[in-house]
């Protein structure tokens, strides 16, 4: 039985906590240094979105080890409860920037990971699930 790790995202410093804890776990699971970097960076992008755009800058990250046809992997879920993204296609375009001019980093995150799923509803919240398989 694999345990699920939960990292609450509340303040800006939690971005560093999230990416360091996921890097460490990835290392322990046997991911190489480059994949550790990819995973840590993807988590950084997603948790920063929570701090910057989520209601009360509040969200949660869940990390769990997964098994699949390709072997072992890491699944990370970053979720918040608002405000939600109105146009998913728009935010997945390279070059999209939000009001702050910084962009949501989602296309980049997708490139770094093997799988990514995004569900969002205005007024409800956003959940991003990313997976990386150990090669």
């Amino acid at each position: 039985m694999t345990t699920e790790q939960r990292v609450p995202i509340r303040i800006e410093q939690d971005i560093v906590v999230a990416r360091q804890s996921v890097r460490e776990l990835a290392g322990r699971l046997g991911f190489g240094t480059i994949d550790q970097s990819r995973i840590a960076t993807a988590v950084s992008e997603l948790t920063r979105n929570v701090i910057r755009y989520a209601t009360d800058s509040t969200g949660d990250m869940y990390v769990r080890e997964i098994e699949g046809p390709r072997g072992k992997g890491l699944e990370i879920v970053v979720e918040d409860h608002g405000p939600g993204i109105a146009d998913l296609d728009l935010v997945m375009q390279d070059g999209y920037t939000s009001g702050g001019g910084m962009g949501l980093g989602l296309p980049g995150t997708k490139r770094l990971m093997d799988e990514m799923e995004l569900t969002s509803a205005v007024g409800v919240g956003t959940t991003v699930t990313i997976r990386k398989w150990r090669r």
Partner: protein, 121 residues
């Protein structure tokens, strides 16, 4: 957080640790600008050899540090990027073309050579 910025000749040297949060990164940016203005430094070396993660925020910030320094008359070199970080940055879609880069601090200082000897500006 207070970042030690060392001055050698006309060069400022800032050494980053293995991770740096957003607020600290912005503090560093401000510190570098303040020090350039106060000392008239014409070269800035940012040693990132220990840095393990550079995401889109930090990547853009490094570009900004170089641009800001240039406006204040100083040249910036980023030294010692880890291969894993370089690969990740490039896959993220960032090339940091606005900053010069060196393999390590030694090479970086060689590139800023003239500024070390008190030349430059």
């Amino acid at each position: 957080m207070i970042f030690p910025i060392v001055k050698i000749g006309n060069c400022l040297i800032a050494t980053l640790t293995e991770d740096i949060g957003d607020a600290d990164a912005m503090d560093l940016q401000e510190s570098i600008n303040t020090r350039i203005e106060a000392t008239g430094a014409s070269g800035v070396l940012v040693d990132i050899s220990a840095l393990q993660t550079i995401d889109s925020f930090l990547g853009r910030l490094l570009n900004e540090i170089a641009t800001g320094a240039r406006l204040l008359g100083a040249e910036t070199v980023m030294a010692g990027m880890q291969p894993a970080v370089a690969m990740t940055l490039v896959e993220l879609g960032l090339t940091l073309k606005g900053v010069r880069s060196a393999l390590d601090a030694e090479r970086g200082l060689t590139m800023l050579g003239q500024h070390l000897n008190g030349g430059g500006q």
